[in-house]
């Protein structure tokens, strides 16, 4: 859906999406890194289980909710990636203990 411009010379950062290594760039938000990676990053909603991807990318729509380093319901569009970060695509409600 998206590709990186060749002028982007930022260093790579490795994150893990459901355990699989994905190359992001320093300064990417989690949501941007997911959309750039080409992996199926669709979460499913808590109400009906419908698939969703980020809609606004600016912190207002909450369609980017994702589990980051074991914490659920994080707004992926507001969190920058970090080396070794563990991302889980959140299916449905935030789970107890996450």
């Amino acid at each position: 859906m998206f590709k990186r411009s060749e002028q982007d010379k930022r260093p790579q950062v490795q994150i893990f999406v459901d355990g699989v290594a994905v190359a992001a760039r320093q300064g990417d938000t989690v949501s941007a890194a997911l959309l750039a990676s080409g992996v199926d990053a669709r979460r499913s909603t808590a109400v009906s289980g419908a698939p969703r991807l980020p809609y606004c990318m600016m912190g207002v729509c909450f369609d980017c909710l994702v589990t980051i380093d074991g914490v659920g319901n994080r707004q992926g569009c507001l969190v920058p990636v970090a080396e070794g970060m563990q991302i889980e695509i959140q299916k449905g409600k935030r789970e107890i203990g996450k």
Partner: protein, 472 residues
Amino acid sequence: MSVAPKRENYDVVVIGAGPAGLAAAATSAKAGLSTLLLDENIGPGGQVFRAIASTPVTERNQLGADYWVGADLVQSLRASNAEVIHRATVWSLDRNLDIAVSIGGASAFVKAKRVILATGALERPFPIPGWTLPGVMTAGAAQTMLKSSALVPDGRTVIAGQGPLLWLLAAQILRLGGRIDRILDTTQRGNYFAALPHAFAFLTSPYFAKGLSMMREVRAKVQVVSGVTELAASGDGQLASVSYVAGGKRETIAADLLLLHQGVVPNVNLAMSAGIEHRWDDLQLCWSPVLDASGNSSVAGIAIAGDGAGIGGASAAVVRGRIAARAAVEALAPASAAKLPAMATLRSDLAKAERGRLFLDTLFRPAPQFRIPSGDTIVCRCEEVTAKDVLDSVAIGATGPNQLKAYRRTGMGPCQGRLCGLTVTELMAGARGKTPQEIGYYRLRAPVKPITLAELAAVPKSEADVKAVVRG
């Protein structure tokens, strides 16, 4: 990792580091007031100057000269003594000017003598059939990715809607080598006539020449369909096609990405939760706060600057930020105000920056069918409530957005009405034969962004706080 505010009390707390907030904080700090700038994003810039201090887009002309204005604002802020905290989400502001802010999963509390709200705007909801499908995003979302991560669309891409941002985004995508298959312009034909009386001011404003050259640049490379009167996205769990009607003719095109935009509206949540009076703006079709000429709101000590004060664009936002900060300096340290540009100068700067706005507002006033959906089109994305659900609730007695919560939970999801509030107000107003002003809006309360119970429970409590809720 995250840093809490250094002090408990500040002369001025500015909320939001977009054009207005950057200008306000720099002005206030330079006049010697203790100033704290709180911002939810990773770095300064807000939306219009998004990633101004970190963008990987090095070819400056690709983003345009208007973008790089933000770099000077950031430099000016950094040269001041203002304390700046990013990734700081303000979740409460009250009439006593007590502020609660979540930073790195923990809440901190500060008190201000003056608060300048610069929480800006968000894109107007665009509730068409299929707008919740993966692959449908706002134009602003694509622009955010372009500025902060140099990402551009590379699948089959359709941009639909209207307004200056749409053309700017299209030009930027093309300059960075991205793909746009078609632009669907939803500007109503009648709006051109309605806007005509305001054309002179527009023609003599900087918007005109810039807008014209950008539209030319885009039209040379992309098929533009104007007069679009219907729009729908469809697909099974993922966007597959976009269908539209233009000139009475329906067409369907395959698409991987649909970018929607029909202007921006004030982000009212924090201001409304603080009890600031808002009125329905019938031209801009949104809620705008009631403010005096210095941006002071109905709550003593709280001013609003930037697009949160009513949509005026980035240049106007910068001036409004300076005006609100100057007013704070006049109130708290009158002797220092002499160092700042005179209020009369700032007001004339503002008039200049607002030139042409009336034309744009009239021309790009979105059509009813793109604001007020029907049938099974989703209105509330969080709780997945459709237009029919809302109308059915009205039929059995729901009188306004607050009653509707009890019927359908609209506005009670995590976005707290940001993506459905305007739609619900206009939909219910239409169904009940009332004006949006009469129907009203959700009653907003803190926390204005979700925080965890654990974070609330960890908040320091006095003995009196505990006694207030413990039995016996």
